[in-house]
């Protein structure tokens, strides 16, 4: 595990999980499951319409998730999204930014209120062609829905896993096989 926690995964390619799941709060109990090694901390499991981030894996049939599903799972089949650490893509950790809202409005009492989902950005001074291509795998078009793990603005700048929309930049500044000032924008962040 890197000292940095920036991770990314596309929202399309999933693998089927073995067995079925039941839950009680954040505690997941598997039946016929093989949590180790199918799941690791940070993996996302998809069951009954919920996207759940794995917090801990105890054994093949027990694990916990970061946020409990609103409706408990009961014999639910599941799929798995494995998150990739950006360093595993041979990309250095980005300089990240986090915007907790899209716009702010001034209220009648003079204060402001933020509206819209958070957004985030990852920026590099440059990325190589290969690094750029690795990232492009997550967004072949103008935009794609992805999962990311990035820092939010709080007291500890904690890493949080989000569902997000990745917008590919309209222009890329090519120089000597590199992309200068390369920046990815993530919108519509929903914490998982």
């Amino acid at each position: 595990m890197s000292i940095y926690g920036y991770r990314i995964a596309d929202a399309v390619n999933v693998t089927s999980g073995t067995g079925t799941l039941s839950s009680s709060g954040v505690n997941i109990t598997g039946t016929g499951t093989n949590f180790d090694p199918e799941l690791v901390e940070g993996s996302i499991i998809h069951a009954d319409g919920y996207d759940l981030v794995i917090a801990t894996v105890t054994d093949d049939t027990h694990c916990t998730v970061v946020t409990a599903p609103a409706v408990a799972l009961s014999g639910a089949t599941f799929t798995i999204t494995g998150m990739s650490n950006v360093e595993a893509l041979n990309i250095k950790p980005p300089k990240s930014a986090f915007r907790p809202w899209q716009t702010a409005l001034t209220l009648g009492d003079g204060t402001q209120r933020g509206y819209g989902r958070p957004s985030a950005s990852w920026a590099w001074g440059f990325v190589t062609q290969a690094q750029r291509n690795s990232l492009r795998n997550y967004c072949s078009g103008k935009s794609a829905r992805v999962y990311i793990r990035t820092r939010k603005n709080d007291s500890s700048d904690a890493y949080v896993t989000y569902s997000a929309v990745l917008d590919w930049p309209d222009e890329e500044d090519r120089q000597a096989g590199r992309r200068l000032s390369f920046r990815l924008e993530f919108r519509d962040l929903v914490a998982l």
């Binding site: 009961s74 809202w101 899209q102 409005l105 209220l107 209120r113 509206y115 819209g116 989902r117």
Partner: protein, 995 residues
């Protein structure tokens, strides 16, 4: 399910005031199921008025074809390129035939593909007149039995809107609430839910829990049964979706959902790209805009309809704009989506209306309702003039005021008719909320007790952003409100008049008259006048606020309010005001890029009653202020010296089980079905012997007096004239036996002598001309020209040498005011010279109507001819009717201005002339079954009235021709058969009009 919205809870308020509010919008087009397919077996003989079609090659379960489902007619399987129709009857009715809503808009191709889908939509049901030309039928062939009575009233299911449920987990539940379902005059006793593919905890509960475990569109069915044992079934759609099924997010909200109280509902438009080709996105497709909402990290939708909080707006596609993009761009289609109010407004409606009948009367027609209230009219309108109660929640109006009649003569579409009926009677407005639910509610400004209306939220400075604009009115719009109406008990109307602020105008503004309202008493009338005045002079009629929240607790209906406090330091104007405000227009602004949905609202400040006092009763208050203003009369009256139209009609009838009666209708000429009242004749009255009894009852033109001429069975059958001078009292309370006075009888001693007892005087027939009664009377051998003006007789002796007969019905009165021209059977002249060429047989009748121009007509057998002639006495213009003189009865039915009717009863020929300029056969009647035309009169305003003998209870007795176009007769029996039962036969002996 609670009808009213509710106050925001504390947790909801915290969410509404939280950061990071965001919304993802989705569209769902319910995917309807094909129920039955077939091919057209035979092309209808005409494209016009098609109400049923035959089919072959049917596939599916016919019993699953239900009334008000949708029929596609196409050139290929499943297509609707030829047309779309409504299934009119359940499919099991008759195999091989599909009954459809009557249509003329489909050009049926041979062997067309027929597809029935389970889309139950809003359609009009047209009224049709049966082949007898008189009997109205609803939805093509539904005859009236007892549908307007409690015993036959259909229940109205209230089962919530169409909903979209997200399947998260193995299953998802939905808990509709049908406890607000209703039936006129009763209660709901049974509920039965059905939904193929879903499971219920209790399918007979008003509040079941329904579980869905599979994606798809479900048709939810609720059959409610009233304590009258009548059942009715409603349909709604449930879309069970996930992110990949049943929804699309690939659209742009072109114009945001907007609700407007004045417009009566909601609408929005969306642009689709690839999704535009979806098969569900057809014309009039149901289109549900819904949301996944976040308030910070809390995923929750806040709305006031449980289970449907995620719904933003529901409507159907009403139109589209197609963009044909260039090769390097992309095309798109923008769809306009409209709520029910739009569809009602697009449905042409036949003139509609209902009227109250007395508690003792059993309604026998579609237009009659006992104990009529606005809600009963609403039921009639929504359940029988449209399919609304099938596919949408129609909430009842709870006002209990009894209303004499509700009509919408000027409303060309169903929505306009709804407005016409509700606004004019109790100041109510039809409105649909964002869910497409319908409310007919009194404008809440006109309700003095608003304690039951929820205050959704107390708005503070943290609830709005940008700026809030207040329009402040400092100059009154209305200086005086003159409000009036009646309280109708079912038998009597009590008028109330109110003035706000009082008899003295306010300094500024106009006078506004608000009349014909249904009222309760003087106090509430005054309060209403005060509320109306306060509303028209509302100091804050418009407040535009941008609410800083995704706030779907607020809607334009049903009743709700918010509060808004303005402190002195808030505005440069230094106003301090605590306002209660009513949302009148709402826009849910949405930015798809940021996911931000905000709520712009136009409020109206709530008012409290201003000063008002009891108004002054006008000298001649309107008889029936309840109801719409009469439409313009067309054509205009010929003679400006006469009123434009008759007002009342009086009949003298016999043959019924109740004996001889007078019948009065005060609304005969008001449009719609008339109501009749039976009035007692003198206890000893009998019809005169002579067949020319059509003047046995004669009524003054201004309605001030009425005379009966006939035999007094209590006085040796002597010829007698009875007089009634308290007509206004009789008119107001016809059930009370009138006070008759005898003004002349055979053997009576009067000045100038004793009324002679000869045969002719047992057959008296008198004439009312203008406002007086005219006749010839013999006193001790001398005949007198006799005029009764309502209080006394005036007698003028006549020269006996010029007088050959005393039969009054053969006497011609010519200008009785000045010249006293009289003529008897032989053609003898009384008064100044007159030169007709009457033969020895001077017809059988004469009729004249006093007016400013004085037109008189006479029927006679012209010397040297064998036919009856008509003469316009004023200028001696003659017309040969061609009708051979004989035993046939001929009568002049009535003159109006320069016009007259002439009826030849035996042949059934009605001749008519206008202004003496022409004479022609208007129409020949074949009454059949022993019936025959008795009389016809011109009633002014271009109207004709015709009476006939009936030989069975079902025969029609009296008609009106409102446009004086041959064949355009309308049955005007109204409730006559109830008021005056005539199981075997009936004869209208005389007919009189009051102008």
């Amino acid at each position: 399910m609670t009808v009213l919205p509710r106050a925001a809870t504390s947790p909801e308020l915290a969410l509404l005031r939280s950061d990071n509010q965001s919304t993802r919008l989705y569209l769902s087009f319910p995917s309807f199921t094909t129920i039955y397919t077939a091919r057209l077996a035979a092309v209808p003989g005409s494209t016009d008025k098609v109400a049923e079609i035959t089919y072959t090659s049917g596939s599916g379960t016919l019993a699953n074809v239900k009334a008000d489902m949708t029929l596609f007619v196409g050139s290929s399987a499943g297509a609707y390129d030829v047309g779309i129709a409504r299934i009119r009857k359940d499919g099991a009715t008759l195999a091989g035939t599909l009954y459809i809503g009557e249509t003329s808009e489909i050009n049926w191709p041979s062997n067309a593909y027929l597809t029935v889908i389970n889309d139950v939509n809003l359609w009009p049901r047209h009224i049709r007149i049966d082949t007898d030309g008189t009997t109205p039928l609803m939805d093509y062939d539904v005859a009236y039995t007892n549908q307007n009575q409690a015993a036959g009233s259909q229940p109205t299911p209230i089962m919530g809107p169409d909903v979209v449920l997200w399947l998260l987990g193995d299953s998802v539940t939905y808990s509709p609430d049908a406890s607000a379902s209703w039936v006129n005059g009763g209660t709901i006793t049974d509920y039965l839910w059905e939904c193929a593919g879903a499971t219920f905890d209790d399918d007979t509960s008003a509040t079941p829990v329904i579980t869905f475990d599979t994606l798809g569109t479900y048709q939810l069915t609720l059959t409610v049964t009233g304590d009258n044992s009548v059942s009715f079934t409603g349909y709604r759609n449930v879309v069970v979706c996930d992110a990949s099924h049943g929804v699309t997010a690939q659209f742009v909200l072109e114009s945001p959902p907007t609700g407007d109280y004045e417009a009566g509902g909601w609408s929005y438009s969306v642009t689709l790209y690839d999704e535009a080709a979806l098969s569900q996105v057809r014309d009039r497709a149901l289109c549900i805009l819904h949301a996944v909402d976040y308030y910070g990290d809390t995923k929750q939708s806040i709305g006031y309809v449980p289970g449907a909080e995620n719904i933003v707006c529901i409507g159907r596609i009403a139109g589209e704009s197609i963009v044909w993009g260039t090769a390097d761009s992309y095309g798109s289609v923008t769809f306009n989506v409209e709520g029910p109010q739009y569809w009602f407004s697009k449905m042409t409606g036949f003139p509609t209306g209902v009227k109250d009948v007395s508690d003792a009367t059993t309604p026998n027609k579609w237009i009659k309702v006992r104990g009529l209230t606005l809600n009963k009219a609403l039921y009639h309108f929504m359940a029988w003039c449209s399919t609304a109660t099938r596919c949408m929640d129609v909430y009842p109006n709870t006002d209990t005021r009894r209303i004499k009649r509700l009509e919408a003569p000027g409303g060309e579409n169903l929505w306009a008719q709804l407005i016409e009926m509700s606004k004019r009677s109790i100041l109510a407005d039809p409105v649909c909320d964002a869910y497409g639910r319908f409310f007919l509610q009194i404008n809440q400004q006109f309700i003095s007790d608003r304690s039951s209306m929820p205050t959704v939220q107390a708005l503070t400075n943290v609830d709005w952003y940008d700026e809030t604009r207040l329009e402040r009115v400092t100059v009154d719009n209305q200086s005086l409100i003159d409000l009036s109406g009646v309280a109708w008990s079912g038998t009597a109307a009590t008028s109330f008049f109110s003035l706000a602020p009082g008899h003295v105008f306010k300094h500024y503004g106009d006078v506004e008259v608000v009349d014909r309202l249904a009222l309760t008493d003087q106090a509430t009338s005054n309060t209403l006048a005060g509320l109306y005045s306060a509303w028209r002079n509302n100091p804050y009629p418009r407040i535009d606020a941008k609410l800083a929240a995704n706030h779907r607790l607020i809607d334009i209906a049903p009743y709700q309010r918010l509060t808004l406090a303005i402190t002195t330091s808030d505005t440069p104007r230094g106003i301090t005001q605590s306002l209660t405000v009513i949302p009148r227009a709402i826009t849910r602004e949405y930015d798809g890029d940021t996911g931000v949905m905000l709520t712009n609202v136009t409020f109206e400040s709530e008012v409290t009653a201003a000063l008002a006092v009891t108004g002054d009763t006008p000298p001649n208050p309107p008889d029936d202020p309840v109801g719409p203003i009469d439409p313009p009369v067309d054509p205009p009256p010929v003679d400006p010296g006469l009123p434009s139209d008759a007002k009342d009609i009086w009949l003298l009838v016999s043959g019924g089980t109740n004996g001889i009666k007078l019948l009065l209708s005060k609304d005969f000429f008001a449009g719609g079905e008339p109501s009749w009242a039976a009035i007692d004749v003198p206890a000893t009255y009998n019809i005169p012997d002579h067949t020319e009894y059509n003047h046995a009852m004669t009524v003054a033109q201004d309605g001030s007096h009425l005379w009966l001429t006939g035999k007094d069975t209590g006085n040796s059958n002597r010829g007698t004239v009875w007089h009634l001078d308290n007509i206004s009292a009789v008119r107001a309370a016809p059930a009370t036996a009138p006070s008759w006075s005898v003004v002349m009888y055979v053997g009576q001693s009067l000045t100038p002598g004793t009324v002679a007892a000869n045969s002719s005087l047992t057959q008296w027939v008198s004439h009312a001309v203008g406002n007086k009664l005219y006749q010839i009377t013999t006193f001790s051998g001398t005949r007198y020209y006799s005029v009764h003006d309502g209080s006394a007789w005036a007698f003028t002796a006549l020269s006996s040498s010029n007088f050959l007969s005393a039969r009054a019905n053969a006497i011609a009165f010519i200008d009785p005011v000045s010249n006293n021209y009289l003529r008897d059977l032989s053609g003898g002249i009384y008064g100044t010279s007159f030169d007709p060429v009457f033969g020895s047989n001077m017809g059988f009748d004469f009729w004249g109507l006093y007016n400013s121009a004085l037109h008189f007509w006479v029927v006679y057998n012209k010397t040297g001819t064998t036919t009856n002639w008509l003469r316009h006495v004023n200028d001696n213009t003659e017309y040969d009717t061609g009708e051979v003189v004989g035993s046939n009865i001929m009568r002049l039915g009535g003159a109006y201005g320069g016009e007259y009717c002439y009826i030849h009863s035996s042949t059934g020929n009605l001749w008519i002339t206008e202004s003496g300029a022409s004479f022609s056969l208007f129409e020949t009647f074949t009454t059949g079954s022993g019936g025959r035309v008795l009389d016809a009169k011109l009633a002014g305003g271009g109207k004709l009235v015709r009476s006939q003998v009936t030989t069975t209870a079902s025969n029609v007795a009296i008609f009106i021709n409102p446009t004086r176009v041959a064949g355009n007769w309308q049955n005007m029996n109204g409730d006559l058969a109830t008021v005056y039962p005539f199981p075997t036969s009936m004869s209208i002996r005389a007919m009189g009009l009051v102008f």
